[in-house]
């Protein structure tokens, strides 16, 4: 056995471990904030502006739905300074003691947020202790007027085979691929609360969705955008923020919040308990509440902003007064927020939903 060669191999192995080790704890001294947000939910320009103004580097990750984000924060497999979940998820995280209170002395721009939304936010975050609203919107039906001749005003359009047949389609519905939203729609259509915890009502909702399965072309969340723009499908469920973008691309598309009522949701910034740097997180939240920043974000992602100062600054009159972005009180009155229903009911929801999809 060549001693020289042995030495070379050992040296190589040392280099290897050094490389792996260095790569592992490659921590630089530049201050960094870790942000966890929905995909495509911010103007990239805004991130650059934040970095330039504060000198804090932004590490930005995104998630697809609340349920993807939750285990990451809960297990701490990655640590974030600031996260943007929805209402019921914020409620759940408060209950499970995963969040820390925001010090509003560091968030003076909170004054730009319309008090109406702060009040709605109290439904899931009493006293607004843990969250600052970022975007909000409704869930509704998006349909293509050139493909469906009737005026749609009810969730029934998604479930009624005869209605779709009459328009020449036997199954082109885009249903939303999200537990709470899908079951919520079914519950509301059946006349129940979208926060129902009654197993019999949930069973009924599940059966309705199961009957709908053959009519569904795909269960999607964000892909609904591309498919509706391309005229691939005549009807689908969509968040109001996406509706504005799709209408811009394809003027035949129409958005309605059905008469039975719907979900109104608020996504807010929160600071997890295990956040490495709370000070940066508050800086970030304050920055997001600045009118010019909120406006920039609104124009990029087209989701409604709770920032009244930013809304005043919108130049496009059509958008400023758009009933999609800023629905009037008659629409808002029939919309409810989701509540966190406890672990047991949550599992029940998930099981029902899995049953629907594994037809």
């Amino acid at each position: 056995m060549g001693v020289k060669m042995k030495r070379i191999v050992i040296a190589l192995l040392l280099v290897l471990t050094a490389v792996v080790g260095l790569a592992g704890c490659k921590k630089s001294n530049t201050p960094t904030i870790y942000v966890y947000n929905w995909g495509e939910y911010i103007d990239p320009e805004v991130i650059k502006m934040f970095e330039k103004e504060t000198g804090i580097k932004v590490k930005y990750d995104d998630f697809v739905q609340n349920e993807d984000m939750y285990p990451v924060i809960q297990t701490g497999s990655a640590k974030y300074d600031v996260v943007c979940p929805s209402d019921y998820m914020i409620q759940k995280m408060i209950k499970e003691d995963l969040l820390q209170e925001i010090n509003y002395d560091n968030v003076p721009n909170i004054s730009n947020i319309d008090p109406t939304y702060l009040k709605s936010a109290e439904e899931f975050d009493p006293g607004n202790k843990y969250s600052v609203p970022y975007c909000w919107g409704t869930v509704g039906i998006l349909y293509n007027k050139s493909m469906i001749k009737a005026d749609i005003d009810s969730w029934g359009a998604l479930f009624d085979k005869d209605f779709m047949k009459a328009n020449g389609y036997d199954g082109k519905v885009l249903m939303i691929d999200s537990v709470r939203d899908a079951l919520g729609i079914a519950l509301v259509y059946l006349g129940y609360s979208l926060n129902s915890t009654n197993p019999a009502e949930l069973e009924e909702a599940k059966n309705l969705l199961k009957d709908q399965f053959p009519m569904v072309d795909a269960y999607v969340v964000d892909q609904v955008r591309d498919k509706m723009i391309g005229g691939e499908n005549p009807i689908g469920v969509i968040y109001s923020g996406e509706a504005i973008y799709t209408q811009r691309e394809n003027p035949d598309l129409e958005y309605v919040v059905p008469k039975e009522g719907s979900n109104i949701w608020i996504d807010g910034w929160v600071i997890p308990k295990n956040a490495p740097n709370k000070e940066y997180a508050e800086k970030w939240i304050d920055f997001m509440c600045r009118p010019d920043i909120a406006l920039k974000n609104f124009e990029y992602i087209t989701y409604s902003t709770p920032n009244s100062a930013a809304r005043e600054m919108i130049e496009d009159v059509d958008i400023k007064n758009s009933t999609i972005a800023f629905p009037d009180s008659s629409i808002l009155e029939r919309c409810k927020t989701f509540h966190y229903l406890g672990e047991e009911v949550e599992t029940l929801y998930l099981n029902k939903w899995n049953e629907v999809k594994s037809n």
Binding site: M1, E67, D68, Y219, G230, E355, S358
Partner: protein, 272 residues
């Protein structure tokens, strides 16, 4: 040659840490409950209607895809072999080259082709042929599987075929065998190792994919891979997820064992 066994020690340590221990951990989680007591419940979950349907559908689709790949690849390998190209690395390149475009993107491109208003239907309409509803159905997933894994069937078969010497074939012909006899008695049996490794390389990834079904199935087609992925990434229940993975591994092992019975060349076979 003097003993150089020690050179493989880093490898042995590495594989022990990153292959053996993790597998043992999956087995451990698969047969325990959250409180750490022994149970078969996680394995039994495969009998749950949702999981059973998913597993059954995965098996069905992967068998179909593997067969289609074989049917498409074998004649192709034969033709390429008959062309007697001097430069056969070029052939390999042509079929490997698509892999340099990210496979997720290539699969997404199939959405554009298969959609109701997609490229394929536009062509069919132009030719006044009936259009096909493929996207978000099991057929679309089979398309995706065949597309992604076809090269893994072509290359091993081609590699075996080019090694069959002309002398063997000429000898058979001289002894009076016609083309089909030569094929059945000489070429096919000799190319068996290639077919076997091709089947393994197509069947296993098809059986366990969750990506292709996510992209081309519109969440309407739930495969066993999707169920397992959900257990780990969303529900965060390692025990159930590990239990289902174990069942899946058993299926893979069974299919390997069946294939290995037919495979005579055990060691040193080339994958490419």
């Amino acid at each position: 040659m003097k003993s150089r066994k020690w050179l493989s020690f880093p490898y042995i340590i590495w594989m022990a840490i990153f292959i053996i221990i993790p597998l043992l951990m999956v087995i451990y989680y698969g047969i325990t409950t959250k409180s750490g007591t022994f149970t078969f419940d996680n394995l039994a979950l495969i009998a749950d209607p949702i999981n059973r349907t998913a597993l059954w559908l995965s098996i069905k689709l992967s068998v179909v895809s593997t067969l289609i790949c074989l049917v498409l690849a074998y004649p192709l390998a034969l033709i390429l072999n008959n062309m007697k190209l001097k430069n056969n690395s070029f052939i390999v390149l042509i079929f490997i080259l698509p892999m340099w475009m990210n496979f997720l993107l290539r699969t997404i491109a199939w959405q554009n082709i298969l959609e109701n208003t997609g490229v394929l239907n536009t062509i069919l309409k132009f030719l006044h042929l009936p259009t096909l509803e493929l996207i978000n159905t099991p057929s679309a997933i089979v398309f995706g599987m065949v597309y992604n894994f076809l090269p893994f069937m072509i290359l091993p078969i081609y590699n075996v075929l080019i090694k069959i010497s002309d002398d063997t074939i000429n000898a058979a012909r001289d002894l009076g065998a016609n083309y089909f006899q030569t094929f059945l008695k000489i070429i096919l049996p000799l190319s068996f190792p290639g077919i076997i490794s091709g089947i393994t390389m197509v069947f296993v990834p098809s059986l366990t994919t969750f990506v292709i079904s996510t992209i081309l199935g519109g969440s309407k087609v739930v495969l066993i891979g999707n169920v397992i992925e959900q257990q780990f990434k969303m529900i965060n229940n390692w025990h159930t997820g590990s239990g289902l993975s174990l069942v899946l591994m058993v299926f893979i092992l069974i299919s390997m064992a069946i294939l290995a019975k037919y495979d005579k060349e055990a060691e040193g076979k080339s994958v490419w």
